[in-house]
Symmetry: C2
Subunit: 366 residues, 2 copies
């Protein structure tokens, strides 16, 4: 699909015009992929305000680049970014915008030496372009979410007393690969019993026990796009405090999802869920934002957190994932990936639809 990438580069050129830069030097590899289609561990892209873009990558990716990006001028160079900085100047650029959130101080010094040009911060211009997805991207995210949900449904019977967190993580990770994931979107979190109080717990050797709440946070990656989903289930009959905690988080998640409509302010979506948790006396037990954008990165713009400006728009995939964490006791987090839509039957589509455990109701496993 060279056309879609050329279109994206044109949108970047339009953004460049407001910066008064002669060219953008793109070095964030995910952004290079977004603008060219090339997935690589060493590549850079020069997008002049006027004229054709130039891709640079090393010999390991040269054949792939020629195949995937036939419409781009290609330089096969190990020092991709410094070569392009020099080329920008050769071709008349005086101000080259660089990705200051990605380029290190060390590399910046090398670019300055190579470019003999003024380097100006580009900021997150490409990340801003990436917020609103096209239909092809949404289809890939939906596929990644579907794989994730299927893997969860197929794995849940393996949650039994004595199975360790790590063992179950392996089960669900395998199920995602079997269901079609290219790889994992991130390291699976399986947090049982008191570990549920640790939002990013690394699965360990703790065996599941009757009476545990178990939080599973997992996601598949498919053709570069990510899914993100969390379910909390009960093993054996839950105590009343566990039921109450689940009900609170489920209500907060529902409120957050319902607030996620085109035009809504990001901080207000967060607040819709956070207010419920605060009203129940748990404001200090919900220490992270409500959610985040999902795409070529697992965490990307927009971030949904307290006071965040900016608004949701049509075709923005996000997560909604409130959690309440009680140190020493346990916790609950419930998360779906959804895409905000306008002009469709609903103002958002939830993409992580599991059959076995719906967010609304605590699933109790025997």
């Amino acid at each position: 699909m060279p056309e879609i990438h050329a279109l994206r580069r044109d949108r970047l050129r339009a953004a460049l015009a407001t910066l008064d830069a002669d060219a953008a030097l793109i070095t964030n590899l995910v952004n290079v992929r977004y603008l060219t289609g090339l997935a690589s561990s060493n590549a850079a892209l020069l997008v002049p305000a006027e004229g054709d873009a130039v891709l640079a990558t090393d010999s390991r990716y040269a054949l792939t680049a020629r195949r995937e990006c036939p419409d781009l001028e290609l330089l096969v160079e190990r020092m991709a970014e410094t070569v392009l900085a020099g080329l920008a100047v050769e071709r008349g650029a005086r101000w080259v915008a660089f990705e200051d959130h990605e380029v290190t101080v060390e590399r910046h010094a090398a670019l300055e030496a190579a470019a003999r040009a003024q380097l100006a911060p580009l900021g997150r211009a490409v990340e801003e372009l990436r917020i609103v997805k096209d239909d092809g991207e949404i289809a890939l995210i939906a596929r990644a979410c579907q794989i994730t949900a299927t893997a969860f449904d197929e794995s849940i019977a393996e949650i039994r007393p004595g199975v360790t967190e790590r063992e179950f993580a392996v089960v669900i990770e395998r199920a995602m690969i079997s269901a079609g994931a290219d790889k994992l979107a991130f390291d699976t979190i399986v947090a049982s019993g008191p570990h549920g109080a640790i939002p990013h717990h690394v699965p360990g050797d703790r065996p599941f026990e009757p009476g545990d709440l178990i939080t599973i946070d997992c996601g598949a990656k498919y053709r570069g796009y990510h899914a993100d989903m969390t379910r909390t289930v009960a093993l054996g009959t839950p105590a009343q405090w566990q039921r109450d905690l689940y009900g609170l988080v489920a209500a907060a998640q529902r409120a957050g999802i319902e607030a996620a409509v085109p035009g809504e302010v990001l901080g207000d979506v967060d607040m819709a869920a956070r207010d419920l948790i605060a009203a129940a006396g748990h404001v200090e037990h919900f220490g992270h934002g409500l959610g985040h954008g999902v795409g070529l990165d697992i965490h990307e713009a927009p971030m949904l957190g307290p006071g965040r400006p900016g608004k949701l728009a049509d075709r923005v995939p996000i997560t909604v994932e409130p959690g309440v964490y009680l140190p020493g006791r346990g916790g609950v987090r419930i998360e779906d990936t959804l895409v905000v839509r306008s002009g469709s039957s609903a103002p958002r589509d939830v993409l992580t639809m599991t059959r076995t455990s719906t967010p609304a109701e605590l699933l109790v496993l025997d």
Copy 2:
């Protein structure tokens, strides 16, 4: 093992003394892990030239940090690095060394604003410390390598005509997890037939065919430490050019391994293998370095490449991985992870010992 981490911090302090800095602000997360034991996606460590180190991480990792690093002062802060930069100044630091190869231009500006101190580049001081491994680290790398070799041996029967590259990648990745890997060290490469000419080929839908050479580059990760191994096998009777190519690369790998002894110059190890490939007329078909260090990163110092200064030392794990890539035809790469040793029976231990396919001989599968 807090003791080992305290010892490592002392070694960093000794390195700091030569820099005339009052403190080091460590922000590379792998380096933070090396110096504290905490694996986290948001943490920073302040190591004053004199006085106790301070770890900062956000609330998600606070419980883990208290458990893993009981000997460290802990700040629970989302903005870990800027808080520590400010603290350094409060405690009297005038020059704070920062990791200029890791800190972005954007974050550097924020640090300068927070620190009101002079920031000086620390360079790769911690990475230099990481080159020589202790026995515990070598044991973990050896375990990761053993898992990788076992998974390869258990998977190889699945290489049959009609199986796709991607399908086989899934087989061997599952086998690594089943054999005890915590995760994959990197995305598995499976490159068959003409794809073998692409050193970093992404496994695709090409089915294996009789007459293929198939290159498999895979590795397990175990408790943070990596393994890296490549084997090239033949499906069906290989052509003479394939046998010749394999024999050349195997001889080059053997020469590289034999050159990997304590005290040898890095560039000379590379040359030992490269000279053989050049003599056979393929110098331009071997476009990467001979190998690299392996540890908490899959690629780390020392790099073995043409003209590299520096010498191998006792207890340095490296890969030796020559390859010859013939565009449009195919390629061969053979790679082992080994650890250079002095004072033992051999000057290196090869850690990736497969039973089914030894580097010396082309394995032909029916």
